[in-house]
C-alpha cells in the first residue's frame, strides 16, 4: 500500500475572487457601475434601492440583482418600479457569491445598463468574505439595530467603500446614537464616507443619489465603445 501526500494549495475563497474579477471585467467593458448593497435584515437596503431607482431612473438605465434566501419578495417590490430585476435565490446560502452573479449577469443586457444594484442577503457577516465583481461596496445599517452594530461587525466595515447609517430619524426613539455609529465606522475605516440618511430627510437622500450619479458618470465615460 502506497501512501502519498499531495500538496494542493487550492484556496476556495480566492477562487471566488477570481470569478469576481472576471465579472468586473465584463461590467467594465460595458461601462456599468456595479454596487453591492450589504446590510442586516430590516436595515433598509430594499427601500434605499427603491428610492435610488425612483430618483435616478430618468437619468440612468438601471438594473437590479436581488438576492434572497428563499422568497423573491424584495425582487417583486423593485420590479414594480419597472426596472430590470433578476431575483437570485441563494437557497441555503447566506450571501451572494461571484458564481451566482455571473449567472445572473447572463440574463441582463449589459449594453443597456448604466448602474447595476446588487442587493445582498441580509446579514453583516458572510457577504464580507465574498466579492461579486462590484465597483462599490456599500454597507447599510440602521439605528434600530442598536448603535453597537458597527463594532460588532468590524470586517464588513473595514472592507467597504461607503457606510450608510439609515433611519437616523428614529435614533432617539430607540436610544441609539447615529454619531456613535459614524465614529465607530471611521475608527475601523478612517477614510470611509459615512452618510446618515432617512427617507424623511430628502437632503440626506440627495447626498447619496449625487454620490452614485457622479460615479456612474465616470463609469460611462470609461465605457469602451
Amino acid at each position: 500500500m502506497l501512501m502519498h501526500v499531495i500538496n494542493v494549495g487550492h484556496d476556495v475563497l480566492k477562487a471566488n475572487d477570481k470569478l469576481a474579477a472576471k465579472n468586473q471585467k465584463l461590467l467594465d467593458k460595458n461601462g456599468v457601475l456595479a454596487i453591492n448593497f450589504m446590510g442586516a435584515i430590516g436595515s433598509g437596503k430594499t427601500t434605499i434601492i427603491e428610492k435610488t431607482v425612483e430618483n435616478l431612473g430618468d437619468k440612468y438605465r438601471l438594473a437590479v440583482i436581488a438576492g434572497d434566501v428563499i422568497a423573491d419578495m424584495d425582487a417583486g417590490r423593485i420590479a414594480k418600479l419597472g426596472v430590470t430585476t433578476i431575483p437570485v435565490n441563494t437557497g441555503r446560502e447566506c450571501h451572494l457569491d461571484a458564481k451566482l452573479v455571473e449567472k445572473a449577469l447572463k440574463s441582463i443586457d449589459l449594453a443597456d445598463v448604466d448602474i447595476l444594484l446588487m442587493e445582498n442577503v441580509g446579514n453583516l457577516i458572510c457577504p464580507a468574505d465574498y466579492k461579486l465583481g462590484e465597483h462599490l461596496r456599500v454597507v447599510v445599517v440602521s439605528v434600530t439595530e442598536g448603535d453597537d452594530i458597527v463594532l460588532k461587525h468590524p470586517m464588513i466595515f473595514k472592507h467597504t467603500d461607503i457606510a450608510i447609517i439609515h433611519k437616523k430619524d428614529l435614533a432617539e426613539a430607540v436610544f441609539a446614537s447615529a454619531e456613535k455609529m459614524e465614529a465607530d465606522a471611521r475608527h475601523l475605516n478612517p477614510d470611509i464616507p459615512v452618510l446618515k440618511t432617512s427617507i424623511h430627510d430628502a437632503q440626506s437622500m440627495d447626498k447619496w443619489f449625487s454620490t452614485i450619479s457622479s460615479m456612474a458618470d465616470k463609469c460611462r465615460e470609461n465605457r469602451k465603445d
Binding site: H4, V8, R92, E93, D129, P154
Partner: protein
C-alpha cells in the same frame, strides 16, 4: 451558514484530486482557515466530517490549521499575528484582535496582511 457550502466545495475538490491520482482511499485532509475570514473552524470541521462518509474520503482524518495574518507597520516593524491571540495560553476568539493593533515601535495602527484564505493545503491518499 456558509461553512456547509464551502465544505461541499472542498470535498468536491478532494474527491476529484483523489480520482486523478487513482486513490483507493484518503487518509487525511488538511485545510487552512484564515483567522480574518468569517469561516468557523469547528463548523467547517463538522461539515467535512459529515460529508466524508459516502465517498473515497470515508474515514479520512480532518486537520484544520488556523492561518494567522502577519501584522505589519509602515515603520517596517512586523509581528506574527498569532502572538496577539493568546493571553495566558488562552486563545482570544475575536476577529477584532487584529484590527486595532498599535505598533510597539512607533505607535501607528498596524495592518494585517493575509488571514483571508480558506485553502485545501494537502491530502494524504492511499494508492
Amino acid at each position: 451558514m456558509h461553512e456547509y457550502s464551502l465544505a461541499c466545495e472542498i470535498m468536491d475538490n478532494v474527491i476529484s484530486i483523489a480520482e486523478e491520482n487513482a486513490a483507493k482511499g484518503v487518509n487525511s485532509i488538511t485545510v487552512g482557515v484564515g483567522r480574518l475570514t468569517h469561516v468557523n473552524p469547528d463548523q467547517i470541521m463538522f461539515c467535512l466530517e459529515t460529508l466524508r462518509e459516502d465517498n473515497v474520503s470515508k474515514g479520512a482524518q480532518i486537520i484544520i490549521n488556523e492561518i494567522y495574518p502577519e501584522m505589519q507597520c509602515e515603520c517596517g516593524f512586523c509581528e506574527d499575528g498569532k502572538k496577539l491571540c493568546f493571553v495566558d495560553d488562552e486563545i482570544i476568539d475575536d476577529i477584532r484582535t487584529f484590527l486595532d493593533v498599535q505598533c510597539p515601535q512607533c505607535g501607528q495602527t498596524m495592518h494585517a496582511s493575509g488571514g483571508h484564505e480558506l485553502v485545501i493545503e494537502s491530502i494524504d491518499i492511499e494508492q
